[in-house]
Amino acid sequence: MINIKTTNRYNITTLRSFMTIIFSLLAALVVISIIFLIAGVNPIFAISEIFSGSFGSYYGIKETITKAIPLILIGSGLTLAFRAKFWNIGAEGQMLMGAIFATWTGLTFGEALPSYIIIPLIFLAGFIGGGLWGIIPAILKIKYSINEVISTLMLNYICAEFLTMLIVGPWKGKERFGFPGTNNLPDSAILGLIPGSRIHYATLILAIICAIVLAVVIYKTRFGYEARVVGENPEAGKYAGINFLKTSLILMAISGGLAGLAGVGEVAGIHHYLGYPASISSGYGFTAIIVAWLAKLNPLYAVVSGIFFAGILVGGDAIQISLGLPAATVEIVNGTLLIFLIMGDYFLNNKITLRFSYGSKG
């Protein structure tokens, strides 16, 4: 008989947590390789293709950075929520709500206002939209004890359908010639690109600033302290007199708000109009969960892990074309990585010992 014994591990060194990440990624790669094999593709070739497609060429790098922008924004916002153990799975919806608010602002005021006013304005609108969508589950959780995983997830669908309703209905633009979608944003509300790329630099700069500010918020401020205490031990939070409602509202406003900013970037930087929800959010809200997790819930690391996962997205597109694999392949890769990262955490926090014993009956 094998006895599995788990004990809490108290001394967690930086080296050990770093090695855990490396081994989790390696273990994930093994499983991903098996999946590639089943699909009839040489796994070593496929994996090297992913990385050469994303980081191996000038074009690949530009695309990677473009996709890293929303991942960094959402991912760093999620680090804050996850630190307080607020499981925000609703970044997709918050991002879309940001996009909706920004589009409305841009279409309504864009013609009349110069760029240097309208662009800050649409970012502000996007932050408010995402933030409002974020605080709904916070209220539901604190006031009515409704599980935030369910409510944030469901709010994604509500927002996506709401957006679809807008673009096929009242907001449908003449410029789309009958296809769903709004008119293009006026030129003043469109973000500038780094020449020869799709990198909307304003959002990129904003993303990096947000990650830095958030790191300061988490590690240096009273609010960050309270969020961390609540996340580590809610009972201690209660004992310490922390106001759960206020803390949750603020952190979800920030987390949702940053997702909203990502939505602004996608609309004003890439698409220039509000189209189908899947094309706007492209699953960034879910991928960002893995980004936050790989970053060990540190917003600064989220910049790095955001770029890493953007690379996998771009590389995934590359192997779709070169190896003829289905589009879902990337999602399989991402999902596998996340599962192994989370499992790695378990093995980091707990020591597992196997004991072989031969049962004796008295």
């Binding site: 108290y10 302290y225 961390r228 031990n233 209660k238 004992y239 310490a240 007199g241 008295g362």
Partner: protein
């Protein structure tokens, strides 16, 4: 025919981390007998029963059934031998019905249609012992007493001839206690044997034939209930006559600090945990609350400090109403709190030492400026606490979960005391500390008293209570049995008061 006629435990010893939980314990029960196990919390009663139930292995000693030595490696084996245990916390699935819960734990439950097959059996048992239970009800719809009966049925169905009941009355209302006692008498008449764990003298005297008194893991008394009385049992349980210690400096008590007026507090189980308690606390005074833990101490402390709602009554601090105010509001009125379950309430385990050193105080001006925390001051403050309270930690930049329990406790105590509170609510502050740290802490409490603060001290350690306190209240079942000056001679009967059989 019963499987067990006679069960013996011989010279059982068990230690955890070098501390004896049980030492050389001999115990014997026979068919048709109810044996009481009496002792304070931590006396080793539950450990002993867990050994019998197969949850722990003894370090030495043996268990015999009908004179034959047996080995019990797991609860399953224990059940096969005819031993059943009803834990203090019930092991039932809340969303399942009574019959489903019983089927779940029953060894002969058929794979198909389990409920139908065992239903008759359950109803037959139910009738036999007068259980009055609707087997189709869900567990969450039942009262604690009914849930306990489900547990008893489970044990009996599995053929338990020996039933162990761990503090069975702690969750019951007085009416339910009466019903339980009549069930136990019925079982006794049918030849079952019962081991009844309790710290309540009245119950022990009422239903047990024989009683073993445990203290610090050893048996200090063994008597037939008809040959003994509550008073001598109480003395055995407490273990000594109370020595009144008067080394502390005499101080005249100052102005009124805290006043508690007729408060009622509901406990976690939904029953009244604090029953109409009133008292006053003055500056330069340490007020002790003695009692076996679980008699409302935690709820009282939490109610005063704002963690638990007060259902009726008033609490005032320096004349200001603090009833049901937020913990922070109460803290800002000068009330510090060393919680009973320190690890659960007192720290955020994954955060650094210095983060934990300001928990509850981080909003104070000296640690924060506008939105930011002044980490330099915080770190210096942490260093001071660590030095002064001799917390051994290799760095203040390490997670507090790396510290031992004793050191975590010293840090919490340092944190709460160093702020010079006007009132310190301290629950078992020295529990688990070594001798040196205990002395050091007691000196600190006396210093606080001298400096004009008041201390509300909850403790099970009577020596500590009488060494430190000016006045002492004895709490039992949410009520004060007595409130006396600590040098009052009537405290010679404190054991009786703690066990609920004497009120002054």
């Amino acid at each position: 025919m019963k499987k067990i006629q006679r069960l013996e435990m011989e010279a059982i010893s068990k230690s955890f981390h070098g501390i004896h939980a049980n030492k050389d314990i001999n115990l014997c029960v026979e068919s048709g007998e109810i044996l009481g196990l009496l002792g304070e919390n931590g006396a080793g009663k539950t450990t002993l029963m867990n050994i019998l139930y197969g949850l722990y292995q003894p370090d030495s000693g043996q268990i015999k059934i009908n004179g034959k030595t047996i080995q019990i490696n797991s609860p399953v084996e224990s059940i096969n031998h005819g031993i059943g245990m009803v834990h203090q916390h019930f092991m039932l699935v809340q969303n399942h019905s009574v019959i489903e819960n019983i089927a779940l734990g029953y060894k002969d439950t058929p794979f198909f249609f389990p409920k139908i097959k065992i239903r008759d059996k359950v109803e037959q048992f139910s009738k036999q012992f007068d259980f009055h239970i609707d087997v189709t009800k869900k567990i969450w719809q039942l009262s604690a007493g009914e849930q306990q009966r489900v547990e008893i049925i489970k044990a009996l169905l599995n053929g338990a001839d020996l039933l162990i009941l761990d503090e069975p009355t702690s969750v019951l209302t007085p009416q339910e206690v009466k019903e339980l006692i009549s069930i136990l008498r019925e079982m006794k008449a049918k030849g079952h044997m019962i081991i009844f764990i309790s710290h309540k003298l009245d119950e022990i005297m009422d239903i047990c034939d024989r009683v073993l008194v445990l203290q610090k893991g050893q048996i200090v008394g063994d008597a037939d209930t008809k040959d003994t009385d509550k008073k001598s049992l109480a003395r055995m349980m407490v273990g000594r006559d109370i020595v009144f210690n008067t080394t502390k400096e005499k101080l005249t008590k100052g102005k009124k600090n805290l006043s508690v007026e007729n408060i009622n507090v509901i406990g976690d189980k939904g029953l009244l945990a604090v029953n109409n308690i009133s008292f006053e606390l003055f500056k330069n005074e340490i007020f002790g609350i003695a009692g076996v833990s679980g008699n409302g101490q935690r709820e009282l402390a939490e109610a005063i400090t704002g963690i638990r709602p007060i259902s009726s009554g008033k609490v005032k601090m320096n004349g200001k109403d603090i009833t049901n105010k937020s913990p922070r509001y109460i803290y800002d009125r000068g009330v510090s709190h060393v919680p009973e379950e320190r690890i659960r309430f007192g720290i955020a385990p994954g955060l650094f030492l210095y983060d934990n050193a300001i928990l509850k105080q981080h909003h104070l001006k000296k640690f924060s400026k506008r939105y930011f925390l002044k980490y330099n001051q915080v770190k210096n403050h942490t260093k001071t606490i660590i030095k002064e309270f001799k917390v051994s930690a290799h760095s203040i930049n390490s997670q507090i979960r790396n510290l031992s329990g004793g050191n975590i406790q010293k840090l919490i105590l340092g944190r709460e005391i160093s702020e010079q509170p006007q009132l310190l609510v301290a629950s078992h502050p020295t529990y688990g500390l070594d001798v040196g740290a205990t002395e050091f802490l007691r000196k600190h409490l006396l210093d606080l008293r001298k400096q004009g603060s008041a201390v509300l001290l909850f403790s099970e350690d009577l020596e500590e209570i009488f060494e430190l306190c000016d006045r002492v209240a004895v709490i039992f079942d949410g009520e004060f049995m007595a409130v006396l000056d600590s040098d009052d001679k009537r405290f010679s009967d404190i054991g009786l008061m703690m066990a609920g059989s004497k009120r002054i």
